[in-house]
C-alpha cells in the first residue's frame, strides 16, 4: 500500500474518530484532531516521491494517484496552512458547540484537497473535488445564519462548476477512452475543433468557480464570511487555490494547443482583472471585517488568475508566488478576525476599536499581513505584485496592468480601514475587558507573519520550487533566466543584494515607529472617535467621515457606476424566475385523477399520430 492511500485512510479514520470523540472528552477530541492533521503531513513530507504511482483498480475505472512537482508545491500550502489553522481552530473552538462537526469537515476537506493534488486521473480528481465541496459546504452553513440562501448559493455555484467539470471529464473519457490526466493532455491534440474548445471552457468554468472568477464569484463573500474563521483561513488560503491549481494545468497543457489560445488567455485575464478591481471596490465598502477580507480574497485571487492566464513564464511565476503569499497573509488576516471576534464577540469594524493595547500580538500579525497584502516593499506581497506588473508590461498588456495597478492601489484603502478599525483609534470602555487571544491562536498567526517577512526577503525560497514545478509542464527555466533579468533585480543587483535594501527599509521603519511611539505618548490628548480635526479639515455636518464610517465615501461615489451592476442580483433574479417557472410546471399534477387519465389518453393518441416518425 502506498503512502498516499495510507494518508487518505488516516484522514478518513481520524475524521470519523474525531467526530465522535466528543462524547469521550473534549481534550481527546482536540488531540485526535491535531494528530490527524500532523501525522499525514509528516508521513507525506517524509515520503515524497515524485515518480511513484499508485493505482486503485476498480473494475471499470482505475484511480491513479501520484505526485507532480506542481501538486507538491500546492501540497506545501495545504499542509502548512492546515497545521497552523488546525492549532488555531483548537483554540478558537474552545467551549463552542458543534466541535465534532467542524473537526470532521475540516479534516475531510483537507483530505480532499490532498486527494485533488495527488490525483492523476480525472475521476479521483472529481471525487475529491466533490468531497471538498460538500465538506466545505457543511462548514459554510456552520453558523446556521441564513443558510438557505448562503449555503445553497455556495453549493449551487460549486455544483455548476463541478458538473461542468464532470461533463468535460466524461467527454474526455469518451474521446480518449481513459480517465488519466496525462492521456487527456496527450489526446487533446487529436480532438475535433469543437471539443477542443468545449473541454477547456468547461474545465475552466469548474475551476473558475472555486477561484471565484468574476461571473462565478457570487458565492464567495457570503461563504468566506460565514464559515468559522479557523476554517476560512484554509478555505481562502488553500481551498480556493485548488481552482488555481486546475487552471494552471489547463493553461499550461490544454490552452497552448488551441488555435484560439490568445483570445482565451485574454478573456480569462480580463475577467481576473475585473474581478480584482470590482471586488476591491466592494471590499472598501464593507463594514464587517469578514466580508471585507472575503472581498479582498476575491480580488487577490483575481490577480493570481491574471498571472496564470497570461501565462508567460514570468506571469506564471508571479501568479503562483502570489498564490502562496495570498495563502499566507490572507489566512493570517482571517485568523486575526477570528481572534478578535472570539474576544469581543463581533467582527464589525465600526464597533470594535483600539485593541492595539489589548491584543498587541494579534495586532502585530495583522500589521505584517496587511503590509504584505498591500504589496508594500519589504514584504512578500510586493515581490509578487512587482513580478506581475512586469510580466504584464513585457507581454504588452498595458490596459490590464493599469486595471491591476488601480485595484492594487485601491486596496490600500481597505487595508487601512481594517487595521484602523480594529486596533487603532480610541479605546472604548466597552472593550476594556478584552484580553489577548490564547497562545494557541496567536502563535499560528505569528508563524505565518514570519513567513511573510522571510519571503519578502528571500523569495527564492519559494520561487525555486515553483520554477521546478512549472518546468514539469514544459515551462522554460524561468527562475534562472527571467528572474535575473527582471527589472527590480537588475537595477538593484541580484537577489543577494536585495537583502541589505530590505533590511535598510525595515530599520528605517522601526526607527520611525519608535520615534512616533514616543512622540505620541507625550502629546496625546483625548479625542472622540469622530474627531478628525487633526487633519485640518472641518467636516460637513451631515457627513460622518471617520475612517470607520464613511471615510471613503467620496471615492466610492466616484466609482459607484462600476459597482452598480451586481452580478449577485442578476443571478438571484434568474434563479427566482426559474423557480417560478418550475412552480408552473407542477400545475400539471392538478390532483384530479381524471385529468391524469386524460393525459394517458393524450399520450397514446400523440404516439399513435407520431408513430410513423418515431418508430420504423
Amino acid at each position: 500500500m502506498d503512502i498516499i492511500n495510507i494518508i487518505l485512510l488516516v484522514f478518513l479514520a481520524g475524521a470519523l474518530l474525531t467526530a465522535f470523540a466528543g462524547k469521550v472528552s473534549s481534550i481527546v477530541q482536540d488531540t485526535l484532531f491535531l494528530i490527524t492533521i500532523i501525522v499525514p503531513a509528516i508521513l507525506f513530507f517524509l515520503n515524497i516521491n515524485i515518480n511513484s504511482e499508485t493505482v486503485i483498480s476498480l473494475s471499470k475505472i482505475q484511480l491513479t494517484f501520484g505526485l507532480t512537482p506542481l501538486s507538491l508545491f500546492f501540497a506545501f500550502i495545504v499542509f502548512g496552512l492546515a497545521i497552523l489553522a488546525g492549532f488555531y481552530a483548537v483554540g478558537q473552538m474552545q467551549g463552542k458547540k458543534r466541535k465534532g462537526y467542524l473537526y470532521f469537515n475540516f479534516l475531510l476537506s483537507i483530505a480532499a484537497m490532498f486527494g485533488i493534488l495527488v490525483s492523476k486521473d480525472l475521476v479521483s480528481f472529481f471525487i475529491f473535488w466533490e468531497i471538498m465541496t460538500w465538506s466545505s459546504y457543511l462548514l459554510v452553513i456552520y453558523n446556521g445564519k441564513n443558510v438557505q440562501q448562503i449555503g445553497i448559493k455556495y453549493f449551487v455555484m460549486s455544483a455548476i462548476g463541478a458538473y461542468a467539470m464532470l461533463m468535460a471529464i466524461v467527454i474526455v473519457h469518451s474521446l480518449t477512452g481513459s480517465f488519466l490526466i496525462s492521456d487527456m493532455i496527450d489526446g487533446f491534440a487529436d480532438m475535433s475543433a469543437g471539443m477542443k474548445l468545449l473541454i477547456p471552457i468547461l474545465l475552466l468554468t469548474g475551476f473558475g468557480v472555486k477561484a471565484a472568477l468574476m461571473p462565478l464569484h457570487i458565492w464567495a463573500p457570503d461563504a468566506y464570511s460565514n464559515a468559522p474563521m479557523s476554517y476560512t483561513s484554509v478555505f481562502s488560503g488553500a481551498l480556493s487555490k485548488m481552482g488555481i491549481y486546475g487552471m494552471v494545468i489547463v493553461f499550461m497543457t490544454l490552452i497552448t494547443k488551441l488555435p484560439q489560445e490568445s483570445l482565451i488567455r485574454d478573456i480569462i485575464a480580463w475577467l481576473g482583472a475585473i474581478t480584482a478591481a470590482i471586488s476591491t471596490l466592494w471590499a472598501i465598502k464593507q463594514d464587517d471585517a469578514k466580508r471585507l477580507l472575503a472581498y479582498s480574497s476575491i480580488g487577490q485571487l483575481g490577480y493570481i488568475v491574471v498571472g496564470v492566464a497570461i501565462g508567460t513564464p514570468l506571469a506564471m511565476l508571479a501568479g503562483l508566488f502570489l498564490a502562496f503569499m495570498h495563502g499566507v497573509f490572507k489566512s493570517t488576516l482571517f485568523m486575526v478576525v477570528g481572534a478578535v471576534e472570539k474576544q469581543t464577540g463581533t467582527s464589525n469594524l465600526k464597533e470594535v476599536t483600539g485593541l492595539i493595547r489589548k491584543m498587541p500580538w494579534t495586532f502585530l500579525a495583522a500589521l505584517i499581513s496587511i503590509i504584505a497584502l498591500a504589496g508594500i516593499p519589504p514584504l512578500g506581497g510586493f515581490v509578487g505584485k512587482w513580478m506581475l506588473y512586469e510580466s504584464l508590461i513585457t507581454s504588452n498588456h498595458y490596459l490590464l496592468v493599469t486595471l491591476v495597478f488601480f485595484s492594487s492601489t485601491a486596496a490600500f484603502l481597505y487595508c487601512y480601514k481594517f487595521l484602523f478599525g480594529f486596533f487603532l483609534g480610541q479605546e472604548e470602555k466597552e472593550w476594556a475587558h478584552v484580553k489577548e487571544a490564547p497562545a494557541i491562536m496567536v502563535v499560528p498567526m505569528l508563524i505565518l507573519s514570519a513567513i511573510s517577512v522571510v519571503l519578502g526577503t528571500f523569495p527564492q525560497l519559494i520561487l525555486k520550487p515553483i520554477n521546478s514545478a512549472l518546468a514539469f509542464y514544459g515551462m522554460p527555466d524561468t527562475y534562472n533566466n527571467l528572474w535575473k533579468e527582471s527589472m527590480i533585480f537588475n537595477k538593484w543587483g541580484d537577489q543577494v543584494a536585495l537583502t541589505p535594501i530590505v533590511y535598510g527599509i525595515a530599520i528605517v521603519f522601526v526607527i520611525f515607529a519608535v520615534f512616533l511611539f514616543f512622540k505620541n505618548r507625550k502629546t496625546s490628548r483625548y479625542v472622540t472617535t469622530k474627531d478628525i480635526s487633526t487633519s485640518g479639515e472641518v467636516p460637513k455636518e451631515y457627513e460622518n467621515l471617520t475612517f470607520k464610517e464613511n471615510f471613503f465615501q467620496p471615492f466610492l461615489r466616484a466609482v459607484e457606476p462600476a459597482m452598480r451592476r451586481q452580478m449577485d442580483k442578476y443571478m438571484l433574479a434568474f434563479a427566482k424566475g426559474l423557480e417560478d417557472l418550475f412552480d408552473f410546471t407542477r400545475r400539471i399534477y392538478n390532483g384530479n385523477g381524471q385529468t391524469y387519465a386524460i393525459y394517458a389518453l393524450l399520450f397514446v393518441i400523440l404516439l399513435l399520430l407520431l408513430s410513423n416518425n418515431l418508430f420504423s
Partner: protein
C-alpha cells in the same frame, strides 16, 4: 442451491394462505412469518445468483410443459439481479415496519405484512416470468396489494391516492390486455422468448401500435412522465416504509417489464430514442416539480420519479455501458430512496401535515436518523464518496460514449436542482430552530437496524463499487444477449 425459481412465488403464496389460520392461534405469527419467508427468498435468490455464475441462466418450466406451451420462469443474471434487489429491500421494509404501527394488533394492520409480502412476490413474479400474460397477472397482484397498502391508513387522503392509482392501473391493464391480444393474434404465442423470436413476422403497423399500448400499460407502473400523476399521491399517503417499497420494488419491476418488452420483444428502431425522450421528460418535470414541494414525502416521491426517468434514459442509450449505468442507478435508487423514505418518515413522524418545515432542528433530537437522511440526500445528489456518484458517473460516461453531449448537459443541470431541494431539507434539519410543542418519535430498534444497514451499504458501495459491479456487468451482458435469451428458453430440455 436452495431451490428453484418457482419457490419465489409459491412459498410466499403458501405463507399468505396459511397466515390467516396461524393468525387466529398466534397473533404475532402474522408479523413473523412474512419476515421468515422474505429472508428465505433472499437466501434463495442470493444462492441462485451465485449458482448461475457457474451454470448460466436457470429456466424453470411450470407443470412440465416446455415453453412456449407452458409458463416458464427465468432466473438470469439480469432478472436475478432485480429479484435479489427487490427481495432485499422488501426484507428491509419488513424489518423497518416490524413495530412501525402502534396499533399493530388491529385487524387491518395484520394484513399489512401479508400485503407487503405479496407486493414483493408480485414484483419478483414480474421479473422472473417468461410469459407476457403471466406478467399481466403479476402486475395486477402488485397493483391490488399496492391499492391495499396505500389505503392502509384509514385517513381521508389515502383513499384518494389509492383511487387515483387504481384508476390509472385499470386503464393500464385494459390496454395491456389489448396489446397482449394483438401480439397473440399475430404470433399465436404468449411466451416472451418466442414472441421475440417471431417478432419479424408481425407487420410494422401492428408492431408499433402494440408497442404503444405496452408503453402505456407499463409506463403507468414505471412512472413515465404523463402517466405518473398517481405516483406522488401514493408515495405520500402510503405508510412511510411503503413509499420505499414503491420506489424500490414496484417501480423497479415495472422498469424491468419496460425493458423486457422494449428491448427483448421488439426490434423497432427508434424505440430506444423514444425511451430517452420519455425518460428525460420524466426527469425534468419530476425534478422541477420536486423543487417547489412543501411536503417532505411528496418531494421524495417526485425525486424518485425523476430518478426512474434517469434510469429510463440510461436504458434508452442502449449500449452495454448504458445498461450497466441503468442497473447501477436502479441499485442506487433502491437503497438510497429506501433510506430516505425510512429516515424521512421518522423525521416527520409525529407531524400531521408532514411539511418540510417540520424537520426543523431534528438534527439535535434524532441525531442518527438525521445523519442517515443526510447521507441519503448526499448520495442521491451524486456526491462522492457515496454510492450515488458511481451511478451518475456511469450514465454520464455511457451518454458521452454515445456522443450525446446535450443529454449530459440536461442531466447535469437538472441534477443541480436536485441538489438544491435536498440541501434545503438538510439545512433545515441541522440549522433551523425546532418548532415548539412538537413531540418527536425516537426510531425503534428494528427501524434503526434497517436504516443503518442501508446507510452502511451506501457507504461501502461508495468506497468500493466493485462489490456489485460484477453482478451488474453480468446482468447487462445478459440483457444485451437477446438471441442467447431466446435460444436458452426455446431449446430447454427438461
Amino acid at each position: 442451491m436452495v431451490g428453484t425459481p418457482v419457490l419465489f412465488i409459491v412459498i410466499p403464496l403458501l405463507a399468505a394462505f396459511i397466515i390467516p389460520l396461524t393468525g387466529m392461534v398466534w397473533k404475532n405469527s402474522v408479523r413473523i412469518i412474512p419476515g421468515i419467508v422474505l429472508s428465505y427468498m433472499l437466501i434463495l435468490s442470493i444462492s441462485l445468483l451465485w449458482h448461475i455464475t457457474e451454470t448460466g441462466t436457470v429456466i424453470e418450466v411450470i407443470a412440465g410443459w416446455k415453453p412456449p406451451i407452458g409458463i416458464n420462469l427465468v432466473f438470469s443474471p439480469f432478472s436475478g439481479f432485480f429479484a435479489t434487489l427487490m427481495i432485499f429491500l422488501g426484507l428491509l421494509v419488513w424489518v423497518y415496519s416490524y413495530k412501525f404501527k402502534r396499533n399493530i394488533d388491529s385487524e387491518p394492520a395484520l394484513k399489512y405484512f401479508i400485503l407487503l409480502m405479496l407486493l414483493v412476490t408480485g414484483s419478483v413474479g414480474i421479473v422472473l416470468t417468461g410469459d407476457i400474460f403471466n406478467m399481466f397477472v403479476f402486475i395486477e397482484i402488485v397493483g391490488i396489494s399496492g391499492y391495499g397498502l396505500t389505503s392502509f391508513y384509514t385517513r381521508r387522503d389515502s383513499a384518494e391516492a389509492a383511487f387515483k392509482y387504481l384508476f390509472m392501473g385499470s386503464i393500464a391493464s385494459t390496454f395491456l390486455l389489448l396489446a397482449i391480444m394483438i401480439v397473440y393474434s399475430q404470433l399465436g404465442t404468449l411466451n416472451i422468448a418466442e414472441i421475440a423470436d417471431k417478432m419479424p413476422m408481425m407487420s410494422n403497423k401492428l408492431k408499433v401500435i402494440s408497442l404503444i399500448f405496452f408503453m402505456l400499460a407499463i409506463g403507468v407502473e414505471a412512472e413515465m412522465f404523463p402517466l405518473n400523476g398517481w405516483a406522488p399521491d401514493v408515495y405520500t399517503q402510503a405508510p412511510g416504509p411503503i413509499g420505499a417499497a414503491f420506489a424500490g420494488i414496484v417501480a423497479k419491476a415495472a422498469t424491468y417489464a419496460t425493458i423486457r418488452v422494449m428491448f427483448t420483444m421488439y426490434d423497432l428502431s427508434g424505440a430506444m430514442d423514444f425511451l430517452i425522450v420519455m425518460g428525460i421528460l420524466t426527469f425534468i418535470v419530476a425534478e422541477t416539480t420536486a423543487l417547489r414541494q412543501d411536503r417532505l414525502k411528496r418531494m421524495l416521491a417526485y425525486s424518485s420519479i425523476g430518478q426512474m426517468g434517469l434510469v429510463m434514459v440510461a436504458f434508452g442509450i442502449g449500449t452495454k455501458e448504458g445498461i450497466f449505468a441503468a442497473l447501477f442507478l436502479i441499485f442506487n435508487h433502491a437503497i438510497i430512496k429506501g433510506l430516505l423514505f425510512f429516515s424521512g418518515s421518522y423525521l416527520v413522524y409525529t407531524k400531521k401535515e408532514k411539511h418540510i418545515s417540520d424537520v426543523n432542528g431534528m438534527g439535535k433530537y434524532l441525531p442518527i436518523t438525521s445523519v442517515l437522511f443526510t447521507i441519503g440526500a448526499f448520495a442521491i445528489i451524486g456526491l462522492p464518496p457515496f454510492s450515488g456518484f458511481w451511478g451518475k458517473l456511469a450514465i454520464l460516461t455511457a451518454a458521452a460514449d454515445s456522443k450525446m453531449v446535450a443529454l449530459i448537459a440536461i442531466i447535469l443541470s437538472v441534477s443541480v436542482l436536485e441538489a438544491v431541494y435536498y440541501l434545503r431539507v438538510v439545512n433545515r434539519i441541522y440549522f433551523f430552530p425546532k418548532k415548539e410543542s412538537m413531540e418527536t418519535q425516537k426510531p425503534t430498534i428494528n427501524a434503526l437496524i434497517a436504516m443503518i444497514s442501508l446507510g452502511i451499504i451506501i457507504l461501502v458501495i461508495g468506497f468500493y463499487p466493485d462489490l456489485i459491479t460484477g453482478f451488474i456487468d453480468r446482468a447487462a451482458a445478459d440483457l444485451m444477449d437477446k438471441t442467447g435469451y431466446i435460444k436458452d428458453i426455446l431449446t430447454i430440455n427438461n
